[in-house]
């Protein structure tokens, strides 16, 4: 039996599933971890930026700290949850820590007063996608952080209620309630922006 198989037998890292990459990275495979990073870190950063009120430096620190923990502790990852969910939990925890270190900004959970309906003939402001995103980012800033986290994880990252509950340390029922309130608030705010 041949002791050295042909290099053609090697599987490109990009074709491997998350679970396989996690196992390989746990055994020290740096290329596997780099692929995990390429797949998931942009979304983790997107989440952190919005949870940390568009403070890019704080988001960068939070994601780096979370991914460093992931790299060092991957051998303890048993695959009970999806790798993506586990990574989001690490980043969510770092965001909470980062917010604790900053001066707290009080936000009422019952957020908005009723808005006066517009006349409907205001000029449309969303001339570009950039403006649309900017408007959403401003509206997100007004949400209490749990609502904001639930909304981002559901509507942007497409995670399930139970995955979000696992990340935020709560129940799917609470997540559902937070999402309803977040959606209502954002709809009102975005309608007002138009």
């Amino acid at each position: 039996m041949s002791s050295e198989a042909a290099p053609a037998d090697l599987v490109p890292t990009q074709r491997r599933s998350d679970a396989i990459l996690a196992r390989r990275a746990a055994l020290g495979d740096r290329e596997a971890f780099a692929e995990i990073f390429r797949r998931h870190a942009p979304a983790l950063f997107r989440y952190a930026v919005r949870m940390l009120d568009a403070d890019h430096q704080a988001a960068e620190d939070a994601v780096q700290e979370a991914l460093t923990k992931a790299w060092l502790k991957l051998d303890g990852f048993r695959g009970d949850s999806a790798l993506r969910t586990w990574l989001f939990r690490l980043v969510a925890n770092e965001c909470v820590n980062s917010r604790r270190r900053r001066r707290p900004i009080p936000v009422d959970d019952q957020l908005l007063a009723r808005l006066t309906p517009g006349t409907g003939d205001e000029p449309h402001r969303f001339t570009t996608e950039q403006e649309l995103r900017d408007a959403l980012d401003i509206a997100l800033l007004e949400l209490p952080w749990r609502q904001r986290a639930a909304w981002l994880l559901r509507e942007i990252e497409r995670l399930s209620y139970s995955e979000i509950a696992g990340i935020l340390g709560t129940t799917p029922t609470v997540v559902r309630g937070q999402l309803q309130r977040a959606r209502a608030t954002l709809s009102v705010r975005m309608a007002q922006w138009r």
Partner: protein, 164 residues
């Protein structure tokens, strides 16, 4: 009985319009890669991978004398040695050490059903022994990977190198 007044209909229209704007903005946000991320990603990955995991030291020997290697280095060496074996994937590696002396290694491997397990296991053992010997050299007791336990606890139909 519910009555719709022009005012409530107007409010609902605005709510729908708001929801549509939120959905459009969410799509735009999902499709966006933050330019700041593009700038920092490579540096961040390098910084993360610079961090070293704690590891045991394992005695090794070459022509110039004795030295120690990190257990992590042995793990990576084993992974590289076994990677070319088709239709199987290393799941875990556990070293048996007495202080810093290598006594043995337990390799947990997934193989694709219905390939002959024993032949693959022989190939894996051979590769593992070669990989360890390359790093540890002429240590005493000499490197061996001799025992083999086959235990079937699940069936993997796909290639275990790419999918669970």
């Amino acid at each position: 009985m519910e009555m719709n007044t022009p005012e409530s209909e107007s409010g609902r229209d605005r709510g729908d319009e708001g929801a549509r704007s939120v959905a459009a903005a969410a799509t735009a946000l999902r499709d966006l890669t933050d330019h700041r991320w593009v700038e920092v990603a490579d540096t961040m990955l390098a910084k993360v991978l610079r961090r070293q995991r704690t590891s045991h030291a394992v005695g090794a020997r070459n022509r110039t004398g004795a030295y120690h290697v990190s257990e992590n280095v042995l793990r990576m060496s084993l992974q590289r040695a076994i990677d070319p074996v088709p239709h199987c994937e290393l799941v875990d590696i556990r070293f048996d050490l007495a202080r810093d002396v290598y006594l043995g290694v337990l390799l947990i491997v997934r193989v694709q059903y219905p390939l002959p397990i024993i032949a693959l296991a022989d190939q894996i053992r051979e590769q593992a022994c070669a990989g360890l010997t390359r790093i540890l050299g002429a240590v005493q007791p000499p490197v061996t990977v001799s025992a083999m336990h086959v235990h079937v606890d699940d069936v993997t139909v796909g290639d275990p190198k790419t999918a669970d």
